[in-house]
Symmetry: C2
Subunit: 454 residues, 2 copies
Amino acid sequence: MRSKNKFSEWLNQRSPVQLIIIFYIIAVTVSCLLLAMPVAHKDGVDLTFMEVLFTSVSAVSVTGLSVVSIVDSFNQLGIVLLAVVLQFGGVGVMTLGTFIWLVVGKKIGLKERRLIMADQNQYSFNGIVKLMKGVFKLILWIELVGFLILGTYYLTYFSSWKEAYFHGFFASISATTNGGFDITGQSLTPFKDDYFVQIIHIALIIFGSIGFPVLVEVKDYLFASQEERKFMRFSLFTKVTSITYLGLLIFGFIIMIVLEWNHFYADKSWHEMIFYSLFQSTTSRSGGLATFDMSLLTEQTQLVTSVLMFIGASPSSVGGGIRTTTFALVIIFILTFARGKSKVSVFKREIFEEDLYKAVVVVLMAVGLCITAIVLLTIFEDSSLIAIIFEVCSAFGTTGLSMGVTAELTNISKVILMVLMFIGRIGILTLLFSFNDVTKKGEFHYPKEKIIIG
Amino acid sequence: MRSKNKFSEWLNQRSPVQLIIIFYIIAVTVSCLLLAMPVAHKDGVDLTFMEVLFTSVSAVSVTGLSVVSIVDSFNQLGIVLLAVVLQFGGVGVMTLGTFIWLVVGKKIGLKERRLIMADQNQYSFNGIVKLMKGVFKLILWIELVGFLILGTYYLTYFSSWKEAYFHGFFASISATTNGGFDITGQSLTPFKDDYFVQIIHIALIIFGSIGFPVLVEVKDYLFASQEERKFMRFSLFTKVTSITYLGLLIFGFIIMIVLEWNHFYADKSWHEMIFYSLFQSTTSRSGGLATFDMSLLTEQTQLVTSVLMFIGASPSSVGGGIRTTTFALVIIFILTFARGKSKVSVFKREIFEEDLYKAVVVVLMAVGLCITAIVLLTIFEDSSLIAIIFEVCSAFGTTGLSMGVTAELTNISKVILMVLMFIGRIGILTLLFSFNDVTKKGEFHYPKEKIIIG
Ligand SMILES: [K+]
Ligand SMILES: [K+]
């Protein structure tokens, strides 16, 4: 704590919630100003305030739901600005959010902070800033590689190299930030038979949504010497996140094959089935890009996809929803309870009671929130119930997959979805803390037990 | 514990879960045998095994969903037998269930038992049996009064007094046990303008579903002298249950008026609106009788009704669902967490952590269970999603309200609904305990804190 400067003191005086909300309002305002500029629009396009606002909220929260067609509304400048907003919203919020947890969140005593800091040996303010810079750089590198690969590959699709690399540029940012926007006008469906494009997109989406601590730890591991590796161990956070993330990917993959065997896959080849399922499972974490029309799926797949989007991506990532860790903790909690044990452990490490409480509250509140939103949307929209459920879960999970409801929403429903995108992105827990002054007074604590089993 | 006899020792050797499952299997088997008898059927009616089984499970769990028309399938004898099964399933399971909690459940250290026994001063086995007998008698009295009032009143509707009192007999049992079956062929719609009939039904449904400890305590209070009343206080269970029950009633009443103002109520008078809403709110607790066709409601009301049915009735009642107390504890839990407190109290009394854990697990598992059932039914049925959601919540809440899906289900969906009715009736917690041997070894305990605030 030696090198605290004025900025960090100012930060310390704001609560994390204040900071995140300030950041959001600034980000959305700036995004609105940028995207409202007529010079960013195609000729003859006149966007309403609501359209610009919705696009901005969707972009800052890297959701990808859109009430206008991006490619029909924005010119090249507009698309570049949108990419900047996505980068800002995705990586910026991720970095800032984590930064806030690390610096200011110490008052709350968050498990994530404890784990990360212990494992990264980053106790000082400078160390944290360095860590954040490292993450930011890492993501820029990922995006650059994605841009080069996709841009070069797109030379086979587009007549000019400018167009190819422009598409590569936007695709790489949209995939890595899990922005989910597209400038093809039909998401990734033009590449439904191009498995190379899909694999690159899958990789970028996963890099963005698996959580930055995982990225950092894996990077550190890969760049370490044989000798150093002996002393390295992955944090509990990384283990739980990665396994849950992978588990959800596999589940999403298998369930889609099972549910669509006689329907969507009835006339498809085995490799089409594998890639459609793989891409769909990945994109429903948080990506939002699609290789086919969601309304072609059976209602049961749409429902399961809704649940998967509701769960969302890892914390400290570019994704939303209740988060993979929350889901994992709740499952662990239920299993522990069902087995009649009162102490919860995983990977031979303790789980703090407060983390369980948090996870459970997040899920319960998220369920209540989404049900409320669904009921409200059935009042204001004529769409089918499944389409509404799908859209609500997509907004809360900041996924951006759509069954086409968003394009023709009433204004009040747009506001509801914007609120969901906002809450989904900042997380229920942040919202919860905004209702009390716990982060300032530090009153929030439950009894802790250290348990080492095995 | 002085007067334990052999029967109680035998009971002690069974786990509560074993007992309840044994009871269920016996009850459903006996019910199947009774209702399968051709002598109980109308001429020319030939019921399949699946139809008899579904009717039996629905009757034993006092749900009221039916794949056959009761009045078209069963003759007078069959209807009397059905009433007996309802009585057995409703009051029998309630009494037995509570009995088991009280006698065998002491190993689990259940809050309910503690509260009831402390407040009723019923510590001995004989005392408990006496209490159970009292409850059973109380319900018989309620049913008798209901029968006399309804039967006599029905003289204005039916040409013969036999018919009038027969209808009164069945209606009283179906309402009090929250059985939800009808012999009019169209539930209570013939009485949609008869507010007297509706009020009697509302009273009987509430008596059955508000929870027997409430009944007993209120009865004790009413029959006590002025002097005795000074020393009486209602248990925490009664307070929490009654207030939640009442709160849900009021919420259901208001929300229906709000959501149907321009739809179902557009052409109705103010008193029609009040009575339709009042009856619908009451019946969605667990009753299952209806004064109008559910498909006339807007999708939003159908959704909200589904949620209300999912919550269900009070524990230790004839109802199902997650139960009012569970709902209340979860709300209290979330509010406490949001306010940044770690200790939970209500009415200046402590809430045990284990009760919070239980409540949370019940809700999470119930949500998971119902979503799974909904996905499965969308696979096997062609019905609309809202109709499936409605039917699933109705089965889990053992409510029995229907949008007409049940009548034409595939066999696999019938099995799914039967499982839901079974779990909804015995309660998620009982199901949970069946996965571990906790009730035998008594390993299940969390740290407890006594908190007296105010
Ligand atoms: K997205
Ligand atoms: K019922």
